[in-house]
Symmetry: C2
Subunit: 243 residues, 2 copies
């Protein structure tokens, strides 16, 4: 952990080293959990804390377009699992041979393993904020909702709680199952619970599905065409925090 | 700060109280900064750290669809500011009377005030991850990019650095200014730098544009139509962390 701290603005609420390390630990030790869920219930108080973290995300025009559907009922979750299974069979068809076998060995959801699921939605018509900031890029309400999800994901990690985002779902079916109205978009379906462990690296990396891209290839200066890997490498040298 | 910790899975990398508090502090003390930027340069090492935090966000199928364009050149930023000014004049037309006056009093960007800007993009055709998880909901690549932005935003707060998301921009013009190719979507244009202070509450709340919605109204149980504010209030009682 690099410890150099800068405070030119005289931030009176400067983070201590341990607090700052907590933020980086949450970032680096957060995992997309599918296989490691324990059935142990999450106390209401802690669920309240991670939902409150979500609710304090930034939102365009302070629109707060999110809603949270907490799903514990196993019959509802079995229906979501059936939705996943169908969508996953269709998704698998794009792979062939060894890649297809590898695909089927991946565990891509923890819908029934986790003690509860959470559907996070975006109300595209919410009038809070009076549309401020949404005229140029209407999708910013969806983006705000994702900021809430990432807040929740990091707060959960700090509470030793794992989160897995199930993206292989027919959202039309999900919408009718959960009674989500037409003006509301389901953004994420999450499985949430305590875990046996947080794996050291992302499962898709550990299982050889693909590797992490070097960050230096993804940094441009002033213009898209102006990549400079040497300059980018210097930038992140010492900056890559290893938790 | 509530300190009850649960660790049923025996998480060997349990967060200390201070580390966990750091995560909640970042969540609650993060602000969308427009008016408080200092021109002080951000050291390369710290820029590297917050970019690395972004790069360690979750992404669908480990696709890592993001790129980062670091923009310091004032002539480029002046062109972006002109883009904002035009888009903002158009946006203001939806408001009338007192609301319109209030709108014009809001400062909605810090493009030239901050020492640098950052455009975060999403390459919709990146083949990393081989499309895993993207067939049901193709927008998940955009959502992954927003997770990266929120990671960066929280890491920046822990470094006493402010971030402001400028959403009032014509993205077509932004694309041609920065040379962003057609298959890449600009997701966010951020102003980044040290600040005079982090305001105690969101500017739109402080200035009376709108208020924070009670979280209990946004929680549903099992089904969209099953809201239960009393149950939701109990859930978040003691759970709302006041930093």
């Amino acid at each position: 952990m690099v410890t150099k701290l800068c405070n030119p603005g005289g931030d009176s609420r400067l983070f201590s080293d341990a607090e700052r390390q907590g933020v980086y630990r949450a970032v680096y030790e957060r995992r997309d959990i599918r296989a490691q869920f324990l059935p142990t219930p999450v106390p209401d108080e802690i669920l309240g804390r991670i939902l409150s973290a979500a609710h304090h995300a930034p939102s365009v025009g302070f629109m707060q377009p999110w809603d949270f559907i907490v799903i514990s009922d196993r019959s509802v979750r079995r229906a979501v699992l059936e939705n996943f299974s169908q969508a996953n069979r269709e998704a698998a068809e794009r792979y062939q041979g060894e890649r297809r076998e590898m695909y089927f060995r991946l565990k891509l959801e923890g819908i029934l393993d986790a003690p509860f699921n959470l559907c996070v939605t975006c109300d595209r018509t919410r009038t809070l904020g009076s549309g401020l900031g949404r005229q140029s890029v209407p999708e910013t309400d969806l983006y705000s909702t994702v900021c809430a999800i990432q807040n929740l994901w990091l707060a959960a990690r700090a509470e030793s709680i794992g989160v897995g985002w199930v993206s292989i779902l027919d959202h039309g079916q999900l919408r009718s199952l959960l009674g989500i109205p037409a003006h509301v978009t389901p953004v994420a379906y999450l499985c949430i619970g305590y875990v046996q462990q947080f794996p050291a690296s992302p499962e898709l990396e550990a299982k050889g599905w693909c590797q992490r891209e070097p960050l230096s290839r993804l940094i441009h200066f002033e213009h898209w065409d102006a990549r400079d890997e040497a300059r980018a490498s210097r930038l992140i040298q010492g900056g890559e925090v290893q938790a």
